[in-house]
Symmetry: C2
Subunit: 284 residues, 2 copies
């Protein structure tokens, strides 16, 4: 919304109580997205908390934060997502992570005969090995397919997610998968990480843009724990390689020899994901 | 070269003794590339064998095939690649597949102290589990890194390749990995396959182009054996997901729940690779 409105010539301010935009990224990677927003002309007010709105004749005129008052004609609120499970709770269906309906691999809830899928239901996180709540269309679709097959008398399982998400902010493609630093710390794991800068195409090929890749691995074992990518056109979907490696339980050493596609329009000879894996492996 | 010359306004004919261009693809997928070349204005003469050149005053004037004579001012020959291992053979270094130097995982040849890497050396194919010869910059680079570390007194292994290659022909992005039909048959394996058409982005998103994905799996077990992709911008590097799944030894059923990135600029909700995996799984 910030991008769309600033492109339409409006003066846009973004207030965020976190020290960064995109808290699903580590701070260093989120900073790249913040910079892109600033470059586009969005005024970023980070680590500021929304207090109240000023209004006149029933219309908003200003946004009051703990640090300032910003005049405003339009306010867009992005306050996150919570599962709407009041009905389930009233029916004594067991809830788990963040109030979402706890389900087994077949998407059946703790109350036999009651099935759940989508933004009201939990997933299982294949990297943390714990229940996980994420409200994404891809997950909802896959859960729905599994629930539907089972409801129809078939047999299907939804084995879990690895936490993949991609988006586009202005020119910048943003992707993440697996666990980020704060999630790793919360599990009591230790990690090593590396951030590398590369190009989306061979350096001499027209349209080669910068791409930054961060990979995180478990200290000692080298098991891949997560990855984040911020870069220009052709960056985001490279996260699929990292996500598939997470599904496989690969170490960063195993990722070094991944036989990924190379041709000048698509990648440097060493794919940026592999370059990042090499950088992490050196630190193990 | 055909693309570059036709774009410069030359009349271009391509003579190929195979029934398709890009023999590294199955016939049905190669046909999509042939069509793209024809659409660009390249005259394709398939299943024709080059016999000789007509010359005048030391310059070429025509190309004679087993079916016709094509007038020509310029001839470009693409005759494939063979390892230049005459020196190695003279030194009694054991050669393997297609005359390339046989090496172990550390890139040491059969003659202790002699190491090999690059277009003169064999690789190990992780899907066929057999020695394999492929002359690609990515493979050469990775082999060179491993040989260099070992020559320098370190320890590194090059575990093998899965046969990934990508290219771009006119607007069309072309990718393949793993085994194609004729390679599977040569191994005595049986397979099932599916070809699906999807879009590179959400259907409503500007620039959404057609993408065709073919996946091949072992009959019965469902083990992924290979994949091929032909499509517009944003198609080729999706092969990396298939390649990584091959490294992992996934079945097509395991690929259905891969947590791949989705956002409208990058993919339909069901990634085309996953859609293809579902289509193959239904046939097992």
């Amino acid at each position: 919304m910030a991008e769309a409105l600033v492109r339409h010539g409006l003066e846009v301010s973004l207030v965020n109580r976190s020290p960064q935009v995109m808290v699903t990224l580590d701070y260093d990677m989120g900073a790249l997205v913040s910079q892109e927003l600033r470059d586009l002309g969005v005024n970023l007010y980070l680590e500021e908390t929304l207090s109240e709105f000023e209004t006149k004749n029933g219309k908003v005129t200003g946004v009051v934060t703990d640090k300032r008052t910003l005049p405003a004609d339009i306010v867009v609120l992005g306050l996150g997502v919570r599962p709407n499970t009041a009905l389930a709770a009233a029916a004594a269906i067991p809830l788990g992570e963040k109030g979402a309906i706890r389900v087994n691999e077949r998407m059946e809830s703790g109350l036999p005969g009651i099935w759940a899928a989508g933004d009201c239901a939990e997933s299982f996180h294949l990297v943390s090995r714990r229940p996980f709540y994420i409200a994404l269309g891809t997950v909802a679709n896959r859960q729905g397919r599994v629930a539907g097959i089972n409801l129809g008398g078939g047999y299907a399982t939804f084995t879990g997610v690895v936490g993949t998400a991609v988006t586009k902010i202005c020119r910048m493609e943003v992707a993440r998968t697996g666990l980020q630093e704060k999630e790793i710390a919360a599990l009591g794991l230790e990690h090593v990480s590396a951030v590398i800068k590369s190009r989306t195409r061979a350096g001499y090929y027209p349209g080669a843009g910068e791409i930054t890749v961060k990979l995180l691995a478990e200290k000692g074992s080298g098991r891949l724990l997560g990855g984040q990518i911020v870069g220009l056109e052709g960056s985001a979907k490279r996260i699929d390689t990292v996500a598939t490696a997470l599904h496989a339980g690969f170490t960063v050493e195993e990722m070094i020899n991944l036989d990924l596609g190379y041709a000048p329009p698509f990648s440097p000879v060493w794919d940026p994901v592999v370059t990042a894996a090499r950088a992490v492996a050196k630190k193990l």
